[in-house]
Amino acid sequence: MLYYTKNHLQLKTDGVNAEIGLTGYAAEKLGNIVFVNLPDVGERLEVGERFGDIESIKTVSDLISPVDGEVIEANEALLDEPEKISENPLKAWLIKVRVLKLSSDLMSAEEYDLFKEKL
């Protein structure tokens, strides 16, 4: 299943684990991404809490967790090549998480499209 958040993250989940990344919309809006701060493996995430941030040329944007869970992998390769996020955000996942609970505020692709239109 693929979900989207109001903070412009996308979440691909099989019900047990989830892969979290930036949406194409967010990557485009941020422009040149110069750095990404990721949590450590083993770190606990909580819905609505900051788990890292993304630095673009002009701004720093918090990454807000859409799940309660535990980080099982962080895409540390992005530290060396943050531009990969801008190039292909759908492929450049940020973290993989063991999911305990999903946020109740997730959107489907269609809902996210509508959400974006209203912005």
Binding site: V34, R50, D80
Partner: protein, 433 residues
Amino acid sequence: MIYDLAILGGGPAGYSAAFETVKFGLSAILFEKKELGGTCLNRGCVPTKFLAHMAELYHLAYNSHNYGIISEKPALDYLAACEKKEKVVSELRSGLEQSMKLKKIEIVDGFAEILDSHHITCDGETYEVRNILIATGSVPAEPFVNGAATSDEILALKSLPKSVKIIGGGIIAVEFAHIFGLLGVKVTIAIRGERILRKWDKEIAVALTQNFKKRGINILTNQTPEQLVEKSFEIILSAVGRKPNLCGVNTSLVETDENGGIVIDNKFRTKTKNIFAAGDVISKSPLLAHTAMEQGKTVARIVSGKEDGMPSTVAECIYTSPEAASVGLTEAEAKEKGIKFVSAKSNMRSNARTLISGADRSFVKLLADRNTRKIIGAQLFCERASDIVDEFVLGINHGFTVEDLLQSSRPHPSFCEAITNVAEALSEKLDEV
């Protein structure tokens, strides 16, 4: 004569205590077996900052074409640099000695030992004293690799090695990596853990790691003991910490912890009421010169009955390029303490002075209590971080809110504009929660 305060050790804790003691009209006698100024002036902060400055100048000269200055590639005369370094150190040392003599602080050149709570002996002479301050500092921990050099020995080198392996990932390790890296030495850092600067905010550790990577400094993580001792380098620097120096200390009069650090109460008293300890020699010392100075002064105030509060929050700095500085709580520490906080970060890409200086990725991060809006911590990784951090130190010590920080119009263009930027970002975030 009975001295009001006898001080063992002429480093930052010792000399600061001496100056403060005489300020209150009491008498002070200070024993130093080597050189006044301690590790900081002779084998630590000052000589390493000289080398860092020199290495940065060399690097700038080497890259001057970036600013349209075309010149021949600079050559390096390391021996000349070392001579200049010694000159600066000795000038500061003699300045310190003169100031002390001017203030009528008695300096005894020799190895002193505490006989009992009221007597000290040095070179066959016995001195009667009312109070004693142990400020004997620290020495580099024993290298666990045969033939490895300590930071003291590295500073005494008269020529540059071609390659150096640095065992350890703390401040001393990264500062030497920075210096040697800029001077063209092939540098490898080897650590047991995952990350350098493990006691620091993770973001600073990651930022410096990335910065080092770009500069060709190799960081080997998760090293086994066998890998750590691997010796295919011209020099191995062991930077695995420092240990308290208990030379001359009568250990029956004080209690020490498992690392040999002297245990003190919140008034810097050891288990013997009139024997105090301050600086690197105390248990769990942060090993900072400015902390030692503050502690030394506090002891003098206690001895003279002018006692005041505990030393204030102090900043820790790393003199790399960019510099790193930290004061108060990090995010991880605030979380652990269960404090509800909000943090904001500002990168320096829109800071004109930073761009002019050609600095790499840099940022300032600020934390405030969610309810009171008072600032509780700041972490910086940017040019002049060791200067900029001072505003945050002052702010934390005086209970400033984020808005208090914003009540200053900072010069433009300046590095410290970053404070305004991050405080504005934090103020906005606090409004949102």
